[in-house]
Amino acid sequence: MSTTVATPAQSAKTPPGKVVASDRAVAENRLGQKLVAPAVVIMVLVTAYPMLQALYLSLFRYRLTTPEDKGFVGLSNYGVILGDSLFWKDTLNTVIIMVVTVAIELVIGFAFAMVMHRIMIARGLMRTAILIPYGIVTVVSAFAWQFAFSINNGFVNSWFHWLPWISPQQNWFGDHWHAMFAIMASEIWKTTPFMSLLLLAGLSQVSEDMLEAAQVDGATWTQRLYKVILPNMKAAIMVAVLFRALDAFRIFDNIVIMTAGAQNTESSSFLTYRQVIQQMQLGMGSALSVLLFLAVLVIAFLIVKLFRVDLASARGEG
């Protein structure tokens, strides 16, 4: 790797106040673009064609196994979807799942992150224990939870039936809210480590000195938390909430295995899957994909605005 120390003399050549792209700025520009290029190429290669194809096909009526019936229908697919109560029910389900799981995971994940960060004894054991749920294959985790909640084979009923709202023969998958609870429990257990990892990354960047200084100044634990730790973790919290929310909105595996969408527990992602893959309705399915994508875009926009963090402006801030 050649080491060219940029010549400070160059900067002196540029007259102050003149807006001209200096050689250095141009070099920086080129370098920056080269560094991001591999990542961008890979990302776009895989998703550009499908995105465009989805947009295109969403204007057609097209079923894979009856290609002779293919026909242009303009925006009517969108009309059918937006006017369909199933679509809105599923969207509501998905939003509920997203909000509840992200909120709970944020709290629990933060607690776990603190533990992972601060713990002095049994470090390896605790950190590993916290991360294991994330390492279990999702499909298996869903089966295991489904099995645990089942009547004849599970332990949830036999262990918890002393709680007032659980009977020994409780059919967890027999009604909407019980099934949603089971699904959310499985989802939260599985992905809290994801949240806690991202929060840990942010937590570990909070400067010890600031904390010590605050402690010396007499701040209580709660005050240190709210005034020092959280504000400095803002970027990490935002990334964690953002990506977890996006993932939660696209929840699929747990629902497919635990209820297959019965009792109205279907999610938007599952609906899209059924249209595209099972029904082989490529036209309607593509329209659903586009709408799903737009919904996620809106959510991301809201979250980023909410946090008011700009990742790209790295320098200049203290």
């Binding site: 790797m1 080491t3 120390v5 920086e28 080129r30 370098l31 920056g32 673009q33 560094l35 991001v36 591999p38 961008v40 890979i42 990302m43 776009v44 895989v46 998703t47 499908p50 776990f112 992972m116 713990i119 390896g124 950190r127 294991i132 749920p133 390492g135 279990i136 294959v137 999702t138 499909v139 298996v140 985790s141 089966f143 295991a144 009547i151 332990f155 036999s158 994801f194 990892l197 991202l198 840990l200 990354a201 942010g202 570990s204 960047q205 400067s207 010890e208 000195d209 970027a235 953002l242 990506f243 996006l246 992602s269 899209t272 595209v276 994909s289 996620v296 990742l311 790209a312 790295a314």
Partner: protein
């Protein structure tokens, strides 16, 4: 800083351990239940009679060991490449000024938001044309595509927090840019890099939808997809015992990896580095 091992901390430990490991214990216990027991139903946590028949069956199943090999290979390669590309990109975004910086972040985010199910059919067609169907790159490339956004965002957030002054100080002290990078930035960025690596690895490890659609034989099928080929005692019962056994076998190496690297994901800024 010495930690008080009070009763509160102990209780906290136990609560966390139980929360995380109880379902895992359940899965392990399932793997020791015989197939006939899970078929006829037994509503208890521990097996009525312990058996290792499931393990024998699975380990002698050539398809499963192939799937294990595929999963590891694909996940590791995807992780390595993804982390490398993401680090380069994140560094550029956080440190350099170039046209299209925000566009890249937005593209990354947009791609992270794209529904995977819509990707299946077009990707299937594309890969058949490029002869990438049922190959390792055929899965590695989409996995990278989906994990790069998160890795880039995580690492950008990380790099953003590393004080600019540190590199400057090192260079003022006479280090070259590369030495400054290696000796100052890399140790500070290590937690971020390892975090991104773990997230990428587990994404590739757990992924199911693409794995089942873009493969057709055990030459590239990964473990989650292979699990849908497990045969239960009859066509109508999910093979819970076998699934649990496969999960245990598959998770042991993962636990080992996590144990080895869990130290790296935590860092404190070495006290003294920023003082003064």
């Amino acid at each position: 800083m010495k930690q008080k091992i009070g009763p509160g901390v102990i209780v906290g430990f136990i609560v966390i351990l139980v929360w995380c490991l109880l379902p895992v214990a359940w899965i392990i216990s399932l793997s020791f239940k015989s197939v006939s027991e899970t078929t006829t139903g037994s509503a208890q946590f521990l097996p009525k009679s312990w058996t290792i028949q499931n393990y024998k069956d699975i380990l002698s199943n050539g398809d499963f060991t192939d799937a294990l090999r595929n999963s590891f290979g694909i996940a590791i390669i995807a992780t390595l490449l993804s982390v490398i590309f993401a680090t380069l990109a994140a560094y550029a975004i956080a440190r350099l000024d170039f046209k299209g910086k925000r566009v890249v972040l937005s593209i990354a985010l947009a791609i992270a938001m794209f529904p995977v199910v819509s990707l299946i059919s077009p990707l299937f067609d594309m890969w058949r044309t490029f002869h990438l169907f049922n190959t390792w790159p055929g899965l590695i490339i989409p996995y990278m595509s989906f994990t790069l956004p998160l890795a880039i965002w995580t690492l950008s957030a990380f790099f953003r927090e590393i004080p600019w002054e540190m590199e400057q100080a090192a260079q003022v002290d006479g280090a070259t840019s590369w030495q400054a990078f290696r000796k100052v930035i890399v140790p500070l960025a290590a937690p971020g890099v390892f975090t991104a690596a773990i997230l990428t690895f587990f994404f590739a490890w757990n992924e199911f939808a693409l794995a089942i659609s873009l493969t057709s034989t055990t030459s590239s099928r990964t473990v989650p997809a292979q699990m849908s080929f497990f045969v239960g005692p009859d066509p109508f019962n999910p093979p819970y015992s076998q699934l649990a056994t496969a999960a245990v076998i598959v998770t042991i190496p993962v636990i080992v990896i996590v144990l080895l690297f869990q130290r790296r994901i935590v860092a404190g800024l070495t006290s003294g580095a920023v003082k003064g």
